[in-house]
């Protein structure tokens, strides 16, 4: 929107918008601007009157509007209070239920930790003792068994061979 740059126009508008002292001084000296401002001011005043009259209503309109506002406020208030009441009751019921559940729940008994501990210690000692008594380490046990087996076989076959040998010698 382009605004006229005529200084007279600006003075007229300024006098209406911001009650500018310089604009008022100008209007006192400039008759065309003064009449222009008066015309514009009168038109705006007529518009304001028209706006007030158009938006005005008989008393019963305002009474009805106020009553409706009152009833809407009352209903929100009561529904708000109802909501608060319902929430409080629900929370209270929840708290009681939680309390009852806690009371009825089986009490967890402490496990005999110390006994288990000593038993496992005893097992461990026995294991150590067994390992010490063993000739070979546990990992080499299969090999030891194989060696034992071979040596047993050899010792069993050795006398017959010697007998045979002695037989041939004879």
């Amino acid at each position: 929107m382009a605004i006229d740059k005529d200084p007279h126009d600006d003075r007229v508008l300024e006098s209406l918008v911001g009650r500018s002292i310089s604009a008022e001084d100008h209007l006192l000296a400039c008759e065309p601007c003064r009449s222009e401002r008066n015309l514009l001011a009168a038109s705006i005043r007529a518009f304001s009157d028209s706006a007030r009259e158009t938006s005005d209503h008989p008393t019963h309109f305002w009474t009805r509007q106020a009553a409706q506002i009152h009833s809407r406020i009352s209903s929100t208030r009561s529904s708000g209070m109802g909501f608060r009441y319902r929430m409080t009751s629900a929370l209270a019921a929840l708290a009681i239920a939680a309390l009852l559940l806690l009371q009825r729940a089986p009490v967890p008994r402490p496990e005999p930790q110390a006994v288990t501990g000593s038993a496992s210690d005893h097992e461990l000692l026995l294991e150590v003792e067994r390992a010490l008594q063993r000739d070979t380490p546990a990992a080499l046990e299969p090999v030891a068994l194989l060696v034992e087996d071979i040596s047993r076989t050899t010792s069993e076959s050795a006398p017959s061979f010697s007998k045979e040998q002695s037989h041939h010698a004879n």
Binding site: I3, V12, R45, F47, S48, S50, S55, Q65, I69, I73
Partner: protein, 194 residues
């Protein structure tokens, strides 16, 4: 008496403890002005009525936010203008809904009726034409300019008060009012030339 009552309402609102009876007094005191501003912004009597009710309901629900830094009237007008803005936004959206066939809702904007002409028919006709030209010019303004124009010339609020209501700088209000008056003047000149 007026000021005493105003102070009492203000104190009640600031303390955030307001009975419905006390709030009824606030409604009675300010409903006409709130309605008038909404009517000028929306140009629809039914919508203005409905939003006036909504404005007071919101005010009551948000009483705890009223700190007493501005007058009760300024606070209420701020709520009303924000409601009008939201309403305009929704109206644009509902236009598209209707256009796309999602809604069958009809717009029932009631035509603005001017007061009956005065005793001198010729003079009344001229005056009526002038008033019509101002109404047309006001319709041409942007929503913010229209609000400022209405608050200044219909409600006779000071520029600083308008600035508080709209959350603007006084200088900005003055600049927008200047443009609004310029538009009105242009319209009146056009009407004179016809």
């Amino acid at each position: 008496m007026e000021n005493v009552l105003n102070d009492a309402i203000r104190t009640a609102l600031t303390s955030n403890v307001v009975s419905i009876a006390e709030f009824d007094e606030v409604v009675r005191r300010h409903q006409k002005r709130v309605y008038r501003v909404l009517f000028l912004l929306l140009r629809n009597a039914d919508e203005a009525d409905s939003l006036t009710q909504e404005c007071f309901l919101r005010a009551y629900q948000n009483i705890d936010r009223f700190r007493g830094e501005c007058s009760v009237q300024t606070w209420l007008l701020r709520i009303a203008i924000n409601l009008a803005k939201d309403h305009e936004r929704n109206r644009k959206f509902s236009f598209w809904k209707r256009f796309l066939g999602f809604s069958n809702e009809e717009v029932h904007a009631r035509a603005i009726e001017f007061p009956a002409p005065g005793p001198n028919p010729e003079q009344s006709l001229i005056e009526r034409a002038q008033v019509q030209a101002v109404w047309d010019a006001v319709r041409e303004l942007s929503p913010q300019q229209r609000t400022i124009f209405a608050l200044r010339f219909v409600e006779e609020l000071e520029l600083s008060e308008i600035a508080v209501v709209l959350g603007l700088q006084t200088g900005s209000v003055k600049a927008q009012l200047f443009r609004s008056v310029h538009t009105v003047r242009r319209r009146l000149k056009e009407q004179q030339w016809r």
